[in-house]
Subunit: 223 residues, 2 copies
DNA sequence: GCTTAAGTTGAACGATCGTACAAAATAAGG
DNA sequence: CCTTATTTTGTACGATCGTTCAACTTAAGC
């Protein structure tokens, strides 16, 4: 049940992985991502993943290294890429001058939405996968490892805009905002149902929502 | 895989259920609630639920009627109670005079938070359970049945405050707000980690966040 | 208090789960 | 090209899964 973070024996590779094995590894991660996102950790079986990837069950273990480690790898893969894009956007913003809350939030939110909408089915599924990780207490270690560093960076950036506001209040605003972003990605169907066929708000409106919400938190601390 | 909503044969009860069986039924639902909330649908086994409830596995089926129906009953039980409390609060607010956005949101959000904080472990677990339902596409029917009627009622109430704003935009605000409430209930540990031991925002601040967010959405529609 | 519907027990069913492993196929490094 | 590390196949194991059912116990209704 406990997730294994450390490998006891680190065996050195003696050869570079073949191009085919890298492709296979990517196909397995893609299949795992889609199925974990749709059905959760135990809802997706190794056999389902193997079938979707077009490989044998044993191969999933060979590349994934057990189901929990496969889950971890699936979450971490895109988290690293997304974190880089977000930080690049933040750095570009800061070079352009003094950042605003709206601008910082834009750097955090927009890359995610854009990738989900135009980056292919993988990034779309990743939103649901992250939602699963965020919900389940068992994956706290994964969430802390994959998401906390970037979240801390952006909270620090926002804190610089409001030096006198308690960090925990800004962290709360960040957590609320992340959840709103995940809802934006995963609950378009719900908005459609609740408004009789209406369309979900756009990315700009979502960022407006989060920025105004955080400003309200700041106001509550500085009455 | 498809959730069965209709019973083909409706057998009439010839006797009232015994007091003991009602207690057993409640214990099974409590156990199912806690385990579904912690581990998700397939992560919680019928045997785990039976063991936690202190009954035999067959009895879980007798009272639950299959795993999916048990899951549905677990979600629906508190949803009905919560919906009633929320609507009562809304009616009391309207009798006191012309409602405000902040007031309407308070009726929607505060009962949930209060129950989770003071209503016992059941209501605390329920927040995680609802989060699971919201994440997984397989439970859309349950979400629509248990949550949509109340959500529609509150969206209509907010729409009355902003007659010229698109309903889908307000529905988006509602969905964002619900996700923030769930994050508030389930992610206190995350705020703690991100702010080095700081404390999650209070209920008033959460409602401020949502109200300011929705007002920002309204502004974006009425430039 | 008797009758019997309803509740409960305990065991068993077939299916599927994650994992392990030997053998075969592939391709990197010299 | 040869060697052999690595990748891939195919199968099998033990455990656990959801579900079923006959037998037994409890208690509601008359």
């Amino acid at each position: 049940m406990i997730f294994m973070t450390a490998k006891v024996t680190e065996i050195k590779r003696q050869r570079a992985p073949s191009k085919r094995s890298l492709q296979t590894r990517a196909r397995i991660l893609d299949a795992a991502e889609a199925l974990f996102a749709d059905r959760g950790f135990e809802g997706a079986s190794i056999r389902d993943i193997a079938a979707k990837a077009g490989v044998q069950v044993g191969l999933v273990h060979h590349h994934g290294g057990g189901k929990e480690e496969l889950f971890h790898k699936t979450v971490a893969r895109r988290a690293d890429e997304l974190a880089q894009i977000r930080l690049d956007a933040l750095n570009a913003l800061k070079e352009a001058g003094q950042p605003t809350l709206r601008g910082v939030l834009d750097c955090f939110i927009r890359p995610y939405i854009t990738l989900a909408e135009t980056g292919g089915v993988g990034w779309m599924a990743y939103g649901r996968l992250v939602a699963h990780v965020s919900v389940d207490p068992r994956w706290r270690a994964i969430a802390a490892e994959c998401f906390d560093p970037t979240a801390r960076r952006f909270i620090a950036e926002i804190a610089a805009l409001y030096p006198k506001v308690d960090a925990a209040l800004l962290a709360s605003g960040q957590v609320y905002s992340v959840s709103a972003v995940l809802a934006h990605l995963n609950s378009a169907w719900r908005v459609d149902a609740l408004s009789e066929g209406g369309q979900l708000a756009g990315t700009d409106e979502l960022i407006d929502f989060c920025a105004a919400g955080i400003e309200a938190l700041v106001r509550s601390a500085n009455p």
